[in-house]
Each structure stands twice: as C-alpha cells, then as structure tokens.
Amino acid sequence: MQEITLTLPMLPDMELTASKTACAVGEHIRMSVDKIDEMRMAVVEACINAFEHSDAQAQKVELTFAVMGQDDDPKGLQITIRDRGIGFAPDTVEEPVLKTKLSPGISKRGWGLKIIHGLMDEVDIQSGREGTTVVMRKLR
C-alpha cells in the first residue's frame, strides 16, 4: 500500500496545508473534483479538532494518506489524522441539532464530527490517553 505521511505543527491555517496535500493525493489517484473537495473539508475539520481540543504537548498532527486497492487500480483513500493529546470519548459527544443550537445562549459549535461523518464514506475514531486517531475513508 502506497503511504504518504505529513506532519504539521498545530498553527493557524496549517489545516489548509493538510487539505492541499489531501487534494494532491486525491488528484494522484484521479478522484473526482467533488469527492476530493469533500475529503478536503473532512481533513480540515479533523485537523482543527486536533489543534483545538487535543492539548498535545508536541503541538503536531500526523496525517497518513494510504491508497486503497492496487497501485494500478486505486479504490480510494484512507486518511489517518493523529494527535498525541488528551483524547476524548467519541461515544459521549452529543449529535448537534440545529433547532436546539438556534436557541439563545446555546453554543453554536459542535459540528465538526457530524460534518466528517457526512462527507466521508467510513469514519472510525480511536481515542484515549495516548491521543486521538481519526481514520476516514473515501472511495473514488
């Protein structure tokens, strides 16, 4: 399996660098422009979650792009976004509902994971004391 890794410092706008590299890898396997774009947005969300919530000492995010399927017949991309931060319990995160969010005084935040799930074909999140690993797949 072809693998590309990218390590980024947790700094403002670095999610855009991650997103552009995701775009390059998507183009490499001839993914459609729209699917690449969906994947880019999911990458941005996973990165900013790591930046904002991980509290990782190293202040770095590691991304791995793995081509699924054969080299000459790629089926899609598996993207892993890993931080070595404090972790969280994905099962306890409440699903955001816009109607509720629109009430006065309620935080409007909390959409990242929902967007990631909505834009990718498969998402798996492992999180614990060693940090968080989001594995997400997009078929071509």
Binding site: D13, S19, G118
Partner: protein, 118 residues
Amino acid sequence: MSESLKLNVDRRDGLAIVYTDGYINNQGGEEIAKVAYGLIDEGHKNLLLNLQGTKIVNSIGISILIEIIEKMIEIEGTLAFCCLTPTIDKTFHIMGLAQYAGIYADEPTAISEFTGSA
C-alpha cells in the same frame, strides 16, 4: 499568516448582498458577522451571502453564520446564501441549515426569491 477573508457589500432596495472572497474560518466568520450586524443596524432585514469567492469553510466559521441566522430569526429578517460549492452546499444540508436559511444556486434566483416574498 492567516489568509484573511475579503468582503464586499452591495446595498439594494430591501436587500443587502455580501460577497465573500476567501476562507471562512473563525476570523472569516467574525468578519461576516461584523458586516451583517452593521447592515442590520442600518435597517436591513434581508441579507444574501454570495459565497462565489469562497472555496473553503470550516465548522467554526459556519457556527458564526448560525449566530447570524439566530439574530435574523429574532428580528424577523432573512439570511440566504447563493453560489455555494457542491461541498459547502452538502455541508449546509448535512447540518440542516436549509431549513432556516434560503440556499440558492445563483444570485438572480436568490434575488427574485427575495423580491417575490418582499
């Protein structure tokens, strides 16, 4: 080194159109909110955000747009969007935004909808 969002406003009869150019992240969202609240203060109740120049948004930026929607509901105004990329359109639908804000393919359609309902 933040890529800052550029904004342009076109004030029309009964409608203000805000054109965005760039990344809508937290700062970008704040910029839009500042302009939107300014327009509300001027008396505008119908706002159209033309996202033609925005190829990328993030959920923090969108959460600020939700604040604007909340404000519009409060003042019985309307916020609408047009010219979204397919991914931004999909994201807005995933979030259920289409129930609280008009989402139009292009500006003429959006404007005629506003004018029709005004």
